[in-house]
Amino acid sequence: MDPPDVSRDLAHKAGYTIALLADPELETIRRYHLLHAAAGPDGHDIARPAEFLVDRDRVVRWTNFTEDIRVRARADELLRAAANLPR
């Protein structure tokens, strides 16, 4: 939701090499039906937290939709989901 330059600073500071993509227009968030209306710090629309593991055929293999914004997927859960993929 942050503009790209804000994300770039964050990525640089944290040393991330993952693709950090910004969706300021909420277009992809809407396409994935993840809009959480007025939930942002200033009351603007943001995404509900969600994780998807998508395979080469663009098929969803694993999802995580938390029911509590305090409870986020931990790195070990994500890695386990990835490890459970065939090959």
Partner: protein, 154 residues
């Protein structure tokens, strides 16, 4: 009335306070990203509810007892602190779970919609691209891509 009887009367209040503080303490699970966060959220809620059940009647009992005014004042202060903690925990639980249903979101076995978004350099990147091009430092395309819709700690 002996002091032990007074102490006994105040016991539910103290238990309530202890549980209210414990309920708040369980939030450490979230901030430290410890395992068992789902369970921690429910244990915290249970402690909050139990604290509420104990603090109210506990305070009433203390006030009806022949305890000294000083003790009652301390009890009232403690009860107020506990109620504050209970309020914070209850609000956190309710607000944290106010999430839209994700029924229409892509489910396991379904196709993930393609998208194109800008990366931190302003370069457009599509999901298809992420799936078909090797990631930084990799020789082959990945076997899968993990999409994390991240909104910060909010």
């Amino acid at each position: 009335m002996t002091s032990s009887a007074t102490t006994q009367r105040a016991t539910p209040l103290w238990w309530g306070v202890g549980l209210a503080v414990l309920a708040l303490g369980f939030n450490v699970f979230f901030f430290q990203a410890w395992p068992g966060q789902r369970l921690a959220a429910w244990i915290s809620a249970a402690c909050t509810l139990l604290a509420l059940v104990l603090v109210g009647p506990g305070a009433v009992r203390l006030f009806r007892s022949p305890a000294t005014t000083a003790r009652k004042l301390v009890g009232a202060l403690v009860a107020l602190i506990a109620l504050g903690a209970i309020g914070i925990s209850s609000m956190a639980f309710i607000v944290a779970r106010k999430l839209p249903a994700s029924d229409a979101a892509p489910q396991i076995g379904q196709q993930a919609p393609d998208f194109t978004l800008r990366d931190t350099n302003g370069t457009p990147v599509s999901l298809t691209q992420l799936l078909t091009q090797p990631a930084l430092g990799a020789a082959t395309p990945p076997k899968a891509v993990l999409l994390v819709f991240y909104r910060g700690w909010w």
